[in-house]
């Protein structure tokens, strides 16, 4: 099976930027008057801490780091959408054309230079990783395992299976029916998480691509759509984080 190297490496680079910049702040964190970047980081931490405390009432030291990771990572990955849609692909296609021109499988000798560049497979780079369904579903899969893990951790394996079997109808004859219902509920959580993020971001990216096709008029259009997307970027990151917290708190608490 293939790996989407572009999207995954951008995602990893962004993830490392996030963890290392935050770790640096944490290492140099002073309890006195904080610097500006520390202030910024602390605002995010406080914001996430508040969100977590409002929703997740069981004491758990994993939940807040999960929320922080999800929020910051998805935010950074979404943020890549504000990079003009064909700018980095063109750069990478150019580099690819210089290093491995044989990677283009068909005859491009009559193409213009830019067309050759964009014909090179390296130009298929997905600069915004969250427009790749593998990335969003990968995150959702992680959350899915966390939901199962939290359920088992807080209720025990028996409690988890019992919850799946005896809700909403507490009768042994309806166990199969309950199981179907509850499993759909369970599986729909990561699916909805991943698809929501992917759908929003991919649709936005498609519009960016369409805008990029209209020629010179793309500049004001691109600007307007990008401004609108500043909202989408933060909102989707926040939604993913909030829903994760909600799902995990549902997994951790008895109904």
């Amino acid at each position: 099976m293939a790996v989407n190297v572009g999207a995954l490496s951008v995602a990893l680079i962004l993830g490392f930027i996030f963890v290392f910049s935050f770790m640096l702040v944490g290492r140099k964190a002073t309890t006195g008057v904080p610097g500006k970047f520390q202030c910024f980081v602390e605002i995010i931490i406080e914001f996430i801490s508040t969100s977590v405390k409002e929703t997740f009432h069981v004491k758990n030291k994993l939940i807040a780091p999960i929320a922080l990771t999800i929020f910051m990572w998805i935010f950074l990955m979404n943020l890549m959408k504000l990079v003009p849609v064909d700018w980095l692909p063109a750069v990478f296609g150019m580099v690819g054309l210089l290093i491995t021109p044989e990677a283009i499988k068909y005859d491009v000798s009559e193409y213009s230079f830019l067309e050759q560049v964009m014909a090179h497979p390296w130009s298929y780079l997905t600069i915004a990783p969250t427009t790749d369904i593998n990335i969003t579903m990968g995150m959702a899969l992680g959350v899915f395992f966390l939901i199962i893990g939290y359920s088992i951790y807080f209720k025990g394996l028996g409690g988890f299976i019992k919850e799946l079997s005896f809700t909403p109808f507490n009768h042994w004859a309806l166990v199969p029916f309950n199981l179907v219902l509850e499993l759909v509920t369970l599986i729909s959580k990561p699916v909805s998480l991943g698809l929501r993020l992917f759908g929003n971001l991919y649709a936005g990216e498609v519009i960016f691509i369409l805008i990029a096709l209209v020629g010179l008029y793309q500049l004001p259009l691109h600007f307007a759509w990008a401004v609108f997307h500043i909202l989408v970027i933060v909102l989707q990151a926040f939604l993913f984080m909030m829903l994760t917290i909600v799902y995990l708190s549902m997994a951790a608490e008895d109904h």
Partner: protein, 156 residues
Amino acid sequence: MDINLTLLGQSIAFAFFVWFTMKFVWPPINNAIEERQKTIADGLAASKRATEDLENARAKADDELNAAKVKAAALIDQAKKRATKLVEEETQRGHAEREKIIASGYAEVEAERNRVREELRKQVAFLAITGAEKIIEREVDAQKQSDIVEKLVAEL
């Protein structure tokens, strides 16, 4: 766009980043924030306490001041009374002195007058005797007639 190994890679990366955040990112920053919150809370409490202390000190100072004022008023009062008493005493003493001086003056004058009167009597007696001598034209023995003279002097 299909589902492929990227999914798994992303899931693993996600797990790694969550672990990393839990281990190295969240605790130090959160600790710093909580510690600062504690410091700020302590500072606020301390300032509140200081304000209360100040208030107490001010009230105490007011009390002391009032007490001192009362004491000072009492002292002044006492001093005034004492001064009045002193003046009165002095006045009385002065009066007494004056009376005494006047009395002694009177006595002196009286003594002087008596003395002068005596003198005058003697002179008058002498003049009377001299007159009598001239009238009777003879020597009167003052020694022999001294009883008459004495009598005369006593009558003056």
